[in-house]
Each structure stands twice: as structure tokens, then as C-alpha cells.
Symmetry: C2
Subunit: 344 residues, 2 copies
Amino acid sequence: MQTRLTEAFGIRHPIVCAPMALITGGRLAAAVSSAGGLGILGGGYAGTLAGEPDLTQELAHIRGQKFGIGFTTWALARVPHVLDEVLHHFPCCVFLSFGDPRPFSERILRSGAKLICQVQSLRHVDQAIEAGASAIVAQGAEAGGHGALRSTLPFVPEVADYLAMKSPATLLLAAGGIANGRGLAAALMLGADGVVVGTRFLTSEEALTPAAASDRVARATGDDTVRTKAIDALRGVSWPEEFSFRVLKNKLTEQWSHREADATAAFGSLVAAYAEARSRQDFDMVVVGAGECVGLIHDRPSAVSILEAMVTEARSLLGRRATLNFVDGTANPGVQRTPASERR
Amino acid sequence: MQTRLTEAFGIRHPIVCAPMALITGGRLAAAVSSAGGLGILGGGYAGTLAGEPDLTQELAHIRGQKFGIGFTTWALARVPHVLDEVLHHFPCCVFLSFGDPRPFSERILRSGAKLICQVQSLRHVDQAIEAGASAIVAQGAEAGGHGALRSTLPFVPEVADYLAMKSPATLLLAAGGIANGRGLAAALMLGADGVVVGTRFLTSEEALTPAAASDRVARATGDDTVRTKAIDALRGVSWPEEFSFRVLKNKLTEQWSHREADATAAFGSLVAAYAEARSRQDFDMVVVGAGECVGLIHDRPSAVSILEAMVTEARSLLGRRATLNFVDGTANPGVQRTPASERR
């Protein structure tokens, strides 16, 4: 499958593995890239959160594959030297989400890496354009882990229209809810040049996901997740107000997910208990970040077989469109890169 | 465009106009049907809510077109005789949402009408199958008006997989976030047989929408809506706990949308003020139910031109798929009607 993304990034399939904190290690990133997608190492909180894997060690698992690295922008801003350290390893791109990317862009672009900026609402897009992003990821609220309130299906075409007016050369990726070829095909119809996939790779063989967490994902339906700010408050992680955390429901969320104000008042009260529960892999207490697409996931295959199944299914749905029409926005059937205002 | 929906309902395009309370009157329903879609009159709260249009009068505007009629199920349950009254007008279908459809299904099916059941979570699907629904609508949280928490993009394929196992003859429609041909094409890729469109028709010429409300929709971006339970509480409408209301942000939501517990405690406190504000068309106080796809809507064209634009755009995106592949689930490329468990 060819799209503007595969051309610009030199990859075979328009599928990017999300940089999931504590989940997307070097083995997973390398496996996705080696199978023709693009693996992005989860740089997470840049080492500032307890329990994060050692980044240098994870980089060693990449073993010469093309890779990117992703950070939670507000956390990276506290330890900006971490960016310089990883740029020495020549990632092909840096993926920034949840905060202002502009303070980091000059160093990233000077290193030769591309910048990918993930946005959660339309008002984030201008910052990403100003930062010189090669690609903007429109992330819907159905995504697992952190995010905000827009939904993928209406958000992607709205960002596509906005980019068509403001910055037509900027690529657009869809994130949130995409776990198979149907999601990939739908995202391309909405005007995306590719997709960012998290939860589906969370339950891949190569992910750092503990087996007990992966089993919960495989058993869950899409009704079994919840988006809340309560958990970060209780475990004492200072996320900016606008972002919340989508996780599998468990005993902790049953108790707290609808009591965000109470949880904020109890900020940090569960730090020790939470760390202790993590060491025991007690997923009644520790949450598993996962998206609504858990209902489409029932197994833990290799990353390569996930990619191949997605591409096969999408190709079958798209027919000739899979190879002919998505390479260049301007070659599309005249709608995807045309702002709505000019379309009537 | 042919799908299982167009075949089963004898329509030309797989596009259904949502039965929006206070919005989808007889003129809009008739215009959509006459243009080749299916218009469903907004029966709303079956006359139990102040300000609802007179149903008999709206039925008179249908003038021989094919039409359906939709109700808020929990409200209809309070005045069940209203169903018998409308069945005398021979709607081609009854569309029930927000409550258990089973007590109504026998009368509906006996009248010769089809039953369409809208669901907001996977656990609602069994009731709809038991009720004998010809079609199930998977409604995402991005939809305008009332709804719940699942998102369209991952919810539709999950319901598709579930129906493939449990009731493969039941049709599946996607609702929430669909305002143009890109949304329609994406929904078909996800496994839907058609789409239910609300907000885009809310700003059609024929809708009952006041001009001041329509103007607000046309000016809004998708960031400008919010889903909350606070408004129904304040205006004293007893919605079941699981449902909330997506509306354009306004002065009232700025004040109350994040204070649902406070609003519940103040249940009904704004009944009089709200009714008075409605009579003045004061949309700083009265909310406009609208979905996230408002960011894709900038005008108020006729229903026929909305339909034609959607179909033209979707056809262009789908190419040969538009006519060849969506008629029969089993003729699809082997994925849409195959449960995930059999697909690997």
C-alpha cells in the first residue's frame, strides 16, 4: 500500500506503531519496522516516571532497523537533555504528544530527524505546523492511554480540511480505535495518509506488556474501558488538565473513575500502594492503558502478523484504491485535500 | 450506491436521516426520502416534552413519501398509545433508541413496519436482536444529542463482528460523526450497511432548526461541543443514568457541563427559565444538540444537495466498491461479515 506517508518515510505500509510508554520497547519498534511499518520507541516520560524501561537498553534492541522515538512533551520539557542523548542514536523521527512541541523542533530537525506531532484538538494544530511537523497525528478519544475528547471519525477529516487550507504538504495520520484493516481503510477514506496503532501492538508478542495485562485486553469488550483523570491524580502524575487516561476498567477505576474531583483532592495518596501493586503485577490496582478497540483484539500474535493481517484486509476492502489513489493527496478523487469551503 | 440496506428498505442511497427530536419534521423526512435516502420523523419524547412539534401535523407534511418514525424509548414507554396512533399512518419503520425496545416490537412488526434499534454499547445489542430488529444502529459518542460513551470508529466493527456471530442477517448502520462522503465511505469500510446522519441534516433547509441555532452550528469547530448530563438535570428531563447530551458549548454549558453532580442536586431548577429562554430563542441558555462533525459543516443547503454531495464524494472515494461490493455481506472481500475469531 502506497500513500504520501510511505513515500515520505520510506516504508512499505502506512502503519506506525505508537510510542506507548512502558510498552513499545526496542524489540517491538524493530519488529514493526522490519515488517514494513514504522516502529516508534516509547520514550514515555523521558525516564521521570517510576518503572520506565532503560532507554539506552531499549535502543540497543533496535539493531539497525529504522525507528522513531516518542515522548510525552510536558515530561520531556522537564529533562530536555534526554532529547539530545537520543538524537545521537539517529532516530528517523521524533514523535511528540501532549504539550507544545515548538521548543524542541529546531534540535530535532537539525539532527536530520523528522518531527511528528500528535494533536488532540483542532486548536493544537497550529503549534504543530509552526514546529515544522512533517506529519500531524489526529488522535481520537477512543485511543488507549492518554488523550483528550475528540473522536477519530469526525476529527480526522476536520484536520484534513484544515491542513488543506493551511499546510497541504503536512501529512496526516489517524490514531485512536484502529486495530485492523477495516480501521486502516476507513482512516484512508477520511483523508489520512496512514495510521498510528497502539492497543493492537500492546498485545503483540514483542511488546513489553506483562502477560497478565495482555490477557485482560484479549478478554475485554470495547465496553470495558473508561477515560478518566482520577488515576493519574491518585498515583501522583501531574498531567495537564486537558488530558485524561483511557484504561481497562478494574477495581481501582470502579471505585474512582467517576470521582475525579475527589481524586484530585487526594493527589498522590496512592503513590506507594500503586508502585507496590505494579511490582506484584496486580492489575486490579494498576491500570492497563488500552483503547476501545480492545473489543477487536482476542490474541497476542507477532507484530509482523498483525501488520500483514491489517494490510491484507485493507487491500481487500480498498481494491485498486490501495495502490492507485492514496500516494499523492492531489491525485485523490478531488475531495480529500480540498477544503470543504471549496468543495460545494 | 447499493448495500444490503438499500436492498432491504427499497431506497437508492444507504443514508438515513436521524429522527432528531424537535428538528426532523415531516418536510425534512420527506425531502430525504424523495432524494433517495430514508427520512425518519423525529417522534422525540412522544409529545411528553414541552416544545415538541405536533406529530399529526408533521405527518401531514410527509405527503406520500416513504418514511419512518423514531422515538426515545423510555419516553414512549410512558405513553405507549402514541405508538398505535402513528402506526395507523403506516411508517415503513420505527426507530427506537435509549431503552428496551422489546415491549414495542410485536406491535411494530405486526403493523408491517420494520424495527430499527439504535444501541450505544455492545451490551445493548442482544435486546435489539431479541426485539427482531431489521437493522441495528451503532451510535458513537461523537453524535449530537443524546448518546453514551462508545466511539463510532471502533464500535461499528465490534458490533459487525458480534452480529456476524449472533445474527448475520441483521443490518448494521453507523451513527455519530458522519457528515459527508468521507464518513459514509469510512462507515462502509468498517462493516456498516449504511449510515444515520443527524447534525448534517440539522442544518438543512427543511429542518425545523431555528436560524439562530443553525448559524451557531455552521460557525462552530468540532472542538466546540461537549457531552454532559448537567443540562437535562437542570431542565428537569429524567434521562436514564447511562445517557448524556452532546450540545454546542454555550454560556450554560460553560457554567455547568463539568458540574454534573451539582446539576443533579439542582434537578429541575431551571425548568421555567429554560422554557422562557426557548421562547426567546436564546441559545446562550438553550442548548443546541449537535455532534462533533459540526466542524465539517459550514452552510445550510437543501436535504437533496446534502445527499447528492455525500453520495458523489463517497462514490469517488470507493470507486468500483461503491456498486460492487457492499450489497451482500457475504460478497464482501471476506472480512466484514466474518467474526474476528474465524479471520486469523
